[in-house]
Symmetry: C2
Subunit: 201 residues, 2 copies
């Protein structure tokens, strides 16, 4: 049960809430976007992440940029601020994962940690109505704009993942477990993930 | 718990065995490829399936063929034998699903039954080594050819699914639950699916 659990999720599917409840049930740390962003800011944006992950990162566009063209002919870095933020956040994700079992939400964490043996990667999705209702009730989204907000947020998450990895977001075979939280509900989703990891050594 | 459970699966992932054990645990009928093929043969290949599923099938190429071009200008059917077999098997799948809770393996059953409210669709996958080992041990595949056999069988399943539906095989959001049986093992996979459907009314 000493596992790192990463959770990717469609917007409004309750992935963050499921992850929080799971971390409480397992009594392990919980890292969401806000915590990872804060830690990355405080780290000084040093991209030490790639020092020990050459093999892993070998196929990504970002890695190619980093290796092949990190400096242009004036000696300036060609990595954008967004790239540097991604590298710093990746560094934070590897650091917390190496400290021990935890739950990490989003930020390509399943991909960043895919060379670690004890990672269980989860993908949470749900039907549009379930996600619109949560967007309105929990995030205060204007009901008239809920559908557009949900779909746009998903598009951004998908683009972020597909840009930073050599995988496609939401392809079942890339995750240990994927589930529809709209059908089973938030609390049952926690139980199902718990059941899955209970069987692992 | 009165659910129809469909199981799609990568070759060698143990999806059929998981489905069989689940049906025994739930004490409901189990239909695999062999049973569906046999029932379809006995049915006389009558494509009654589409009579009540116009809306559902509206996007599929096959349905377009069936509706728009069933007869060519000589009055001959343009549906191939393969298409007729698919229609007859679809008919069998709908018939057994309407009879009550059961487990159905493969044959696009998740798609064929997607207009029914009480369907839980599962997708089982596993890493290549796990699947090669099962192909050799259970299906008697030549170890030297195991990788090629596994990948070719998957390609066929994917092509079959993508041709007969308007979906892509193995996209997480199209299934209620997807899991990696190579990581958790066959018996745990049964428990995880059981946990998922236990939460449904």
């Amino acid at each position: 049960m000493s596992r790192i659990i990463t959770i990717s999720r469609q917007y409004g599917s309750g992935g963050r809430e499921i992850g929080k409840k799971l971390s409480e049930k397992l009594n392990i740390p919980f890292y969401d976007n806000a915590l990872i962003e804060k830690a990355a800011e405080e780290s000084g944006l040093i991209p030490a992440f790639f020092e020990d992950t050459e093999r892993h990162a070998g196929n990504s566009l970002l890695y190619a940029l980093y290796r092949g063209s990190q400096m242009d002919h004036f000696g300036m870095s060609v990595l954008s601020m967004e790239d540097n933020i991604y590298l710093a956040q990746s560094n934070v994700i590897r650091k917390v994962a190496e400290e021990g079992p935890c739950v990490i939400i989003g930020r390509c964490s399943d991909y960043i940690l895919s060379d670690m043996k004890n990672v269980v990667s989860i993908f949470i999705h749900a039907d549009l109505e379930f996600r619109k209702e949560r967007a309105v009730r929990i995030d205060g989204v204007d009901p008239a704009k809920a559908e557009s907000v949900v779909l746009t947020k998903d598009k951004r998450r998908q683009n972020y993942y597909n840009f930073h990895t050599d995988r496609k977001w939401g392809i079942a075979k890339n995750y240990s477990l994927c589930l529809d939280s709209g059908l089973c509900g938030i609390d049952r989703a926690v139980e199902v993930i718990y059941s899955y990891i209970s069987g692992l050594d």
